[in-house]
Symmetry: C2
């Protein structure tokens, strides 16, 4: 057969790109591409460009490592936030989850992951040094460990406790309102809000 | 609250674009964007560019209106295909579905839709004139109506029969192996292959 699966290389390329996304199979990818073909070319170019710009222009806050369009993110540059309380989270999804509870008025520190020997992620792969530097520099009264209640989260909590325990600050964890084994970003806002209000001193 | 839902406008734009696709909600869109952020920037740029190029550079075959990277598609320019048999389909998904059966050696004519008064699509919105011109020009022995077995497909079949019935050619439809109410592009290859082999003369 001279017929290849797709009548056009451009079409095939676009389908392959969509199919490379998690949870999107070839059939869905094809339907998405066919849908894009039917849209206005202006809309489709805007789509493509938003993806390209995302990677080219996105920046991370130099203070908390949260995603940001500017050098310092909106939370860190907000005068009303309490900079003496730092909430340590795994990623920016978790920042957004906690912000959505509207219960927290401190600032954040985004680790960029959690310690996971299975995935080959050790303490040096995370932004723990900059966290310790911040604490060492003074002005911080409390560090909240707001990591997922998984084995990896517990390991990271323990490691952070060892690193930060020597400084004269309060170390707390989220209240165990968050069900064990749950990913933080999927926890409902009520539970997560209660958990951050009922946070407890960290102990081994 | 000074906090907007997303910490970055670039992020929000990209999420909005993904969420505009059919079957992708805001939560999924956000996860796809976060996944893209973790990938190599080269890969992500390729993704964005494949979407932009798709719309800018894609062409349609001047003979059958199938999607194509060249002026005449691979099927129409294939010397081994029988140009005296034309299979009329709704869209390019249906061309691909029939090609995948590997049962058909004729050529196609892509209507670009089917008559659907509910959606405001009439005969003049479809590529029916060019089909009639092809038939009038001669050399075509048979036109196969391979439309979905829905109300709209039946209406379109009837309309095509009225337009093409005056010419001395065989008009056929797919065998009723395709279940009534089914969309053509989701029919399994075995059924669709049998249906195209057992096609019957069209009668009102």
């Amino acid at each position: 057969m001279s017929f290849t699966e797709y009548p056009s290389k451009l079409l095939e390329d676009a389908v392959n790109e969509f199919a490379s996304l998690p949870g999107i199979g070839r059939k869905t990818a094809f339907r998405l591409v066919m849908y894009l073909l039917k849209r206005d070319s202006g809309e489709v170019e805007r789509f493509g460009e938003s993806i390209i710009r995302l990677h080219r222009e996105i920046r991370y806050c130099s203070v908390c490592h949260n995603i940001s369009d500017t050098g310092i993110c909106a939370i860190c540059s907000d005068e009303k936030r309490d900079r003496s309380v730092v909430c340590v989270v795994e990623n920016i999804q978790d920042v957004m989850a906690i912000e959505n509870t509207r219960q927290y008025r401190g600032v954040y520190h985004v680790l960029g992951g959690i310690i996971s020997p299975v995935d080959g992620i050790g303490p040096s792969d995370l932004r723990i040094d900059t966290l310790e530097e911040k604490v060492k520099a003074g002005g911080i009264k409390e560090v909240i460990f707001a990591l997922s209640t998984t084995m990896e989260g517990d390991t990271t909590n323990f490691y952070l406790f060892r690193r930060l325990g020597r400084y004269n600050i309060l170390l707390t964890t989220l209240a165990r309102g968050v069900a064990v084994g749950d990913e933080l970003e999927y926890t409902d806002e009520l539970t997560l809000g209660r958990a951050i209000n009922n946070r407890n001193p960290y102990h081994q």
